[in-house]
């Protein structure tokens, strides 16, 4: 976007410096929170039906460990779990051309199902199998 606004900027060095400063602040903040440096990993996320106050209609389970995938898929990918060949290629292309090619995504590679037992409005009981509700493993895609 800076490219399109070139002509309208009177002082070209000042805004660039501001952007660089801002980037430094973001990087420092990311370092402090240790978010961006973290590789692609499986993280805990427990969905508690009990905490949601749904125990009047959900018979079982009390909740389930859904998990989620989060973290950076950055070069080199070898250290990250389950990176696909394509993800490695995409990382290299991103490395060459970071502005146009995004990094690979950290996403689930294996998903599992759960079953939920609950009452409906008519007090009938439903047992439903939900596929792909639990993350078993994560990887770079």
């Amino acid at each position: 976007s800076a490219h399109g606004h070139k002509g309208r900027q009177g002082n070209r060095s000042k805004p660039q410096k501001t952007v660089q400063d801002a980037l430094k602040v973001v990087e420092a903040a990311a370092d402090t929170l240790s978010l961006s440096k973290e590789g692609c990993k499986k993280h805990e996320l427990y969905v508690s039906f009990r905490d949601l106050g749904w125990q009047d209609w959900i018979i079982a389970p009390e909740g389930y460990a859904a998990f989620y995938c989060e973290g950076e898929c950055a070069f080199p990918l070898n250290s990250y779990m389950n990176a696909t060949n394509h993800a490695i290629v995409q990382t290299l292309v991103h490395f060459i051309n970071p502005d146009t090619v995004p990094k690979p995504c950290c996403a689930p590679t294996q998903l599992h199902g759960i079953s939920v037992l609950y009452f409906d409005d008519s007090s009938n009981v439903i047992l439903k199998k939900y596929r792909n509700m639990v993350v078993r493993s994560c990887g770079c895609h």
Binding site: Y46, S48, I59, V116, D121, S122, V125, I126, K128, K129
Partner: protein, 257 residues
């Protein structure tokens, strides 16, 4: 509710959700579960026969699927005394995407006043999950031991589908299934309703219910209670119910919100 264990890492900072956020979170999870709103069951006693049977099925699935070391699938209720699952039901369960039990809508107390020798049952099949087809269905009724003078007798238990209820004349019935039982027998009797429930799904107006008729060894109609059949007044965990197994027959697409 976020927590950390030894294998995984949590980067979330725990905080209490505001009530609006909480409502949105609940809506999201309901949507994932495929429910338009939070169900409000008028009777949610978990110790009647149907929920106990369904919990048996749930525990069977969860035990099979449970990875070692996991403790999230703890049964919420004891299963002792619940209706036993047959090997056939175990096969139905393996194939099913959804299993549903239906409560009897006929007030057995009122029914008892009018009908001494038969019992009526009705099940509302209008709320079955969308895009799912019935693969098996059965009617389950409990039979207690009869220890009085009928102990050595045999009885015939017949389940009929009500075809028509013309005013001022006898109802038209279709025999669905029949069982011969000893007075001394004890346990759940199962009657196949697969074809009938499929018919009721296609033509809901034809769902006029079921009749249960008991006959003694002389072919005489008797009160079902004489054979120990639990039809309404008995123990909660022995109440009759219907169960249906469903399989998804179309690809379910979640709508964009």
């Amino acid at each position: 509710n976020f927590s950390v264990d030894n294998e995984v890492h949590s980067s979330f900072i725990q905080r209490r959700l505001r009530s609006q956020e909480r409502r949105e979170m609940q809506r999201e999870i309901l949507s994932i579960l495929g429910l338009p709103h939070r169900p409000r069951p008028h009777v949610n006693t978990k110790h009647t026969a149907a929920p106990m049977f369904m919990l048996d099925l749930y525990n069977t699935i969860s035990t099979d699927a449970q990875p070692p070391g996991y403790s999230y699938y703890k049964p919420a209720l004891p299963t002792q005394g619940s209706p036993m699952m047959t090997p056939q039901e175990s096969r139905f369960l393996d194939d099913a995407d959804t299993v549903m039990s239906f409560v009897n809508l006929v007030d057995q107390e009122k029914d008892l006043l009018f009908q001494q020798h038969r019992r009526e049952f009705r099940f509302d099949l209008s709320r079955i999950p969308e895009g799912e087809a019935v693969t098996a269905a059965e009617f389950r009724i409990y039979k207690n031991v009869v220890q009085e003078r009928y102990e050595n007798e045999t009885f015939s238990v017949s389940v009929y589908q009500v075809l028509e209820k013309p005013p001022n004349s006898e109802v038209e019935l279709l025999l669905l299934d029949q069982r011969e039982v000893w007075a001394a027998e004890d346990g759940w009797l199962l009657f196949d309703l697969t074809a009938t429930s499929n018919l009721w799904l296609v033509n809901p107006e034809q769902n006029l219910g079921l009749h249960l008729v008991l006959e003694d060894s002389h072919g005489q109609r008797r009160n079902p209670h004489l054979a120990g059949l639990v039809t309404g007044n008995g123990a909660q965990e022995k109440q009759p119910f219907m169960v249906a197994f469903f399989k998804v027959n179309e690809v379910r697409l979640r709508s964009v919100r």
